[in-house]
């Protein structure tokens, strides 16, 4: 019995360091989005595909035909053909396993829902990932990559994200971080009209905070990033300028607010370096917001006069939404994801009975057609109207006979095992497996 398998392969901020992720990001320098999609579509057995690429993750979802014969060998085969597409030639094949995660079927669904609801993001509750997901889906549909399963899956992911957003306070917490950043900046600088902000690293949350600051009057945005192209595109959004990370010290001497989110594994700015910079700044106050996990900035920076350093937890304190509350909202959100995953599972299982129903109808039709032909051959004197009456009768008999078994198959109650059992029973009872 042929059926489909959903496969999700990806790399994200939890499994791969920034340096690797940046090279992977599709649409930057290397292969374009469309090219990668086309190559995926060309893969043997690949029915539907979709590709998401942000600065924190690259994920491919494919729906592959799973042949009973191929079972395990086939699965390994298609996976090993997709992985090189994901990594391109940036990573040596022996290192693939260090960064890669693969989720199959319902796990893949669950993971996608976690991503869509931002529960898998660096900053839980940020809304940008949903937009990126929608954009990726649009590109996939334009490239004719998606089919019935992915269409349903992604729409379900969007509605799950929406549900989480409306039923929990998870989104309020991300917005509140930007709000807190603005509030603090006001307490340090008074008016923000002549201030400038430097983004180190171009993460999702940094963008959100910068957006908030700009809407509050900050008039200059500078983006420093390892890859200049990403910095440039982000800077364009804010009519700002892009610089490379080497120019960081120069920038730190001039800007007023710094939002750091590089995701580098170690600190990028130490107290001693900042001390020298403060001298060059003539002690002009500077406000650091460190939203990277692990931290980018030396916590000791806060000890320097006129330097104010805040990390995510500090910002949360400002808006009095404490950690346990956030944790509670995340648990609520996770429960919604689990629920929606189960719903999707049910839909998928329902999908599995469709081929059986088709086969059942076909078998009944074949038999009745055959018998009608036989019977009519023996009754040559009948008129055309008589023919029609007999044909109608035959169709009505098969339809009425099939009604009960089909309703039985379609009944969504019960678990997957129960579904498989039902399908097996019907297939055997009606002799569908003979061919």
């Amino acid at each position: 019995m042929p059926s489909e398998m959903i496969l999700l392969l990806g790399v994200n901020h939890k499994t791969a360091p920034l340096a690797v992720r940046e090279q992977l990001a599709i649409g930057q320098g290397g292969k374009s989005y469309e090219e990668t999609l086309q190559e995926l579509q060309k893969l043997d057995g690949c029915r539907e595909c979709y590709l998401l690429s942000t600065c924190n993750r690259v994920e491919i979802i494919v729906v592959v035909q799973e042949n009973a014969v191929l079972e395990n060998a086939g699965r390994a085969d298609i996976e090993s053909r997709i992985v090189p597409l994901l990594f391109g030639n940036t990573v040596a094949p022996e290192h693939y396993q260090d960064y890669l995660y693969i989720h199959r079927n319902i796990d893949a669904v669950h993971h996608l829902f976690m991503v869509a609801t931002s529960l898998d993001s660096m900053v839980i509750g940020e809304a940008q990932i949903l937009g990126q997901l929608k954009e990726a889906y649009r590109l996939a549909t334009e490239g004719k990559g998606t089919g019935p399963i992915l269409n349903k899956l992604l729409h379900k992911a969007f509605s799950t994200a929406k549900r989480v957003r409306t039923e929990t306070l998870i989104g309020a917490s991300a917005v509140s971080i930007s709000y807190a950043a603005v509030e603090l900046a006001r307490k340090i600088f008074g008016s923000l009209d002549t201030k400038s902000v430097l983004l180190i690293g171009a993460g999702e949350m940094a963008e959100l905070a910068a957006e908030h600051l700009v809407s509050q009057g900050v008039d200059k945005v500078v983006v420093a990033n390892r890859t200049l192209s990403r910095a440039t595109s982000l800077a364009q959004r804010f009519h700002g300028s892009a610089v490379s990370l080497d120019a960081l010290t120069d920038q730190l001497e001039q800007v007023d607010i710094v939002i750091s989110s590089t995701g580098a594994p170690h600190l990028i700015l130490h107290k001693q370096e900042m001390k020298a910079i403060m001298r060059a700044r003539r002690n002009e106050p500077i406000f650091f917001i460190d939203i990277a996990v692990p931290r980018d900035l030396d916590p000791a920076l806060n000890e320097l006069d006129n330097v104010y350093l805040y990390d995510i937890d500090d910002l949360h304190q400002v808006v009095e939404l404490n950690k346990s509350e956030r944790e509670k909202e995340a648990v609520k959100a996770r429960r919604i994801v689990d629920e929606e995953t189960a719903n999707f599972q049910r839909w998928l299982d329902g999908l599995a009975v469709v081929p059986t129903i088709i086969a059942l109808r076909k078998r009944a039709n074949d038999i009745s057609q055959l018998e009608i032909e036989k019977a009519l051959g023996r009754l040559p004197h009948l008129t055309l109207e008589d023919h029609q009456v007999i044909e109608k009768m035959a169709l009505a008999i098969t339809a009425k006979l099939l009604h009960a078994p089909i309703a039985y198959l379609k009944d969504e109650e019960g678990c997957k095992e129960r579904h498989d059992e039902k399908v097996e029973m019907i297939r055997t009872a009606f002799g569908l497996e003979e061919k």
């Binding site: 603090l184 307490k187 340090i188 008074g190 002690n283 304190q317």
Partner: protein, 295 residues
Amino acid sequence: MPGAGEQLLPLVSFFVRISIVGDTSRLLFHTILVTHGLSLCVNWFVFVSQNQRLRGLARFSLVVVGILQTMYVLLRFFQTGYTPITSQHETVVFFSWSLTWAYLSFRWRYTVKNFGAFISPLILALLVIAALSPRTINPLAPALQSWWLPVHAGVTVASYAFLSLAFCGGIMYLLQNRELKKKKFGYLFKRLPSLDALDQLNSHCLAIGFVLLTLGIISGSIWASQAWGSYWHWDPKETWSLITWFLYAAQIHQRFSAGWRGKRAAIMAIIGFVSMIFTLWGVTFLLGGIHSYAQ
């Protein structure tokens, strides 16, 4: 109608008497004390409740106090016949009067949230000190009978007023800075203005105060040469004025040359204030010297 005239006479003489003997002045001073007590309450109430509608009233109450103080200083001027900055009582009243108007002039140009709540207690403290000091009117010492008196003493006390504003700003800066550094965001965080506003307050008031202080010292020196024969006597008051002057000069120099701002500037403003207060009272009561006319 001699009868009616005789009846009116005691009344007229009563008014004449109080205006001469100083009952009006006493009444006015008590009015100032009470009014400012109320003003302090309103300012603190606004500070605690964050009530936006009462903010205007808080400011207005200080304007009323300022006007009443002006009336009192003028009245005292007419009573004594000289600029009332000679006795302890007069000096402190003059100080509180300058402080109120320095605050109002600053408030007219800049917005510093809840500044009034910090200035009001200082004004009240000065008024209380004035209330506790003897209000007798002494004949003016011969050495002080000069038009240099209003110039030298007036300008110097006015400089103290602005330097006191910088002191209050410094305290507020340190409090707010502490909130931001400790990340506790308690009671004061919301109620205090931005660090930038407080640092600006510091530099502006310091600039005005320093210029006035310099003028005060120069005018004093010129007056000294006329009254005592030489420009500088190393009298304790002169010495301490100079120390205070150097403290402020150093701070201004450092701000422009090395960018001393924020916390350091705030601490310097507080140190300068302490030195200034010592010059005003400490020297007079502890060290004496030729400047001590008040005793």
